[in-house]
Symmetry: C2
Amino acid sequence: MADIEIICIGNELLIGKIQNTNAYWLSKQATQLGVIVQRVTVIRDVVEEIAKTILQTAERKPPFIITTGGLGPTFDDKTLEGIAKALNCPLKVNEEALEMVKEKSLAYLKKHGVTTFELTKPRVKMATLPVEATPVNNPFGTAPAVRVNLNGTVLFALPGVPSEVEAIFTQTIAPLLIQAAKGAGFFEKSLFVQGISESALAPLIDRAMADNKNVYIKSHPTGYLGNKPHIELHLTITSTSEQNAKGILDRSAEQISSLIVENGGKVSC
Amino acid sequence: MADIEIICIGNELLIGKIQNTNAYWLSKQATQLGVIVQRVTVIRDVVEEIAKTILQTAERKPPFIITTGGLGPTFDDKTLEGIAKALNCPLKVNEEALEMVKEKSLAYLKKHGVTTFELTKPRVKMATLPVEATPVNNPFGTAPAVRVNLNGTVLFALPGVPSEVEAIFTQTIAPLLIQAAKGAGFFEKSLFVQGISESALAPLIDRAMADNKNVYIKSHPTGYLGNKPHIELHLTITSTSEQNAKGILDRSAEQISSLIVENGGKVSC
C-alpha cells in the first residue's frame, strides 16, 4: 500500500480566512486511487518552517509528498525557497520553467489586448527553482508546479489555487499514484442508525469488525433528529479485489444491521 | 504574542469523508482573539502517531495545544491512550469524569423514557483518563474534554463533534486565550482588484508593506470575471491598539489602491 503526506502552506489557512478545500479534495482523490493519506500538515509562509516540515515529513519516508501554495509571484510565496533550504541546494532560474511562465504570461496579455511583455522580477521568481527540481506544466495558471526527489520520496509542489491543484494532480500525479497503488481501490458503504447511543453501538461495531477482517467501521454522530440521536456508520476497505471488497462490505453491513435492530435501533441505507 | 497549535485526529479527515471544519472554526476564533495559530496537523487514529505528534508539537513550546476527535466510546477513539503514551503515565478511571459521563448518559436516557442505566465498558472508557489529566465539562455531549500540562504547554483534548468543540472552546478555552493575548486583537480589511495580474501587483504590495510596517498584505487570486482576473487583497494586522491598527489598515489600503489605479487596475471594497 502506498502512502502520501500533504503539506499545505499559507497563513490564510491558519487565520480562518479560507477553508482548506485543497487538503480535502486531494485526500479524497488519493484515497479513491487506493493510496493511504497518512497526514496533512498546515503551516505558515515562513521559509524555515517550510524547510523543517518537509525534512520531518521525508523522514517518515512516504513515497509521495504533495505541497500546496506559495509558488506565486508575491513576497509571501516562499515554498521554492523552503524546498531549496530543505535540499540544501541553491535556487536558479530554470530555462524550461521560464519558457512556461513566458508562454502563459503572453497568452494572458494577448487575451487582454496588451502587446508589450516584460520579463519582470515577479515573473522570473516563478521560474527560479531549486537546482535539483523539474518544472511541471500548470494547465490553468502561470506558476509551474515543481517535482523534486528527497531520498526516495517524490515531492510535488503545487500552487494554492484549487482549479490549478486539481488540474495538475489529475494530469501529472494521479497516474503515478495509480501505478504505486498496484491495483488497490477504496470501497465504502454508509448506514444511518437511529434510536441507539454511540456507547451502546460500540460493542456491536467491535463484533462486526472482529467477524469481518479488513473492514473498518467508524461511527459518526451526526446530531439529533427530534430528540433521537442520528449516527452514520461508515464501512470502508482498501483492497485489490473489487468483488471481494464489496462482498465483505455487504456481509459486514448486514451483520451490524441485525445487531442494531436486536438492540432496539433502526437502520437505513 | 501567544501561539497555539491544533492537532486533528481522525481517519475520516484523511480519506476525504468530511471537511475539517473544526480546524477552520478554531483557527478563525483563536486568530480573532489575538492568538497566532502556528500549525494544524491532521493524523490518523493510531495511538503511536497521536503520542509522537503531541510530543513533537510540545517541543515547539506553544503555550496552547488543542486536539480534536477521538474521545468517544468506540474502538477507534484513541486520543486519551495517545496522550497517556506521550506523558508516559497510566490511564485510570477518573471519578469526576465518571460523574460527568453518568449525568449526561442518564439525562439522555431519561429523555428517551429509558429507566435502566448500566455503567457499560464504553461509558467507562470515556472517563478513563491519563492520571495527570483533568476532565473539562462538555455541555453538549457525553464524553468530557480533557486538560493536561506538558512542560508548560496547556493541552486541551476536545471531542470531534463540531457543536461540542464550539461549546467547550467558548466556555473554557477562549477566556484563557484572551488572557494570554494580553489585549491583542486581529484586524483585517479586504480590497477587490480587477484588470491587473498578480505579477504586476507584486511590487505594489512590496511597496505598501514597506511603507506601513506590521501590515501583512496577501493576494488571493479568486478566478476570472469574464476574462479579467479577479484578485482579493487581504490586509491584516494583530495589535493591542484597535485605533492604531485601523488607522494603519486604512492608510495602507488607500496607498495600495492608488498604486493599482496608477497601474491600470480597478479597486473596490
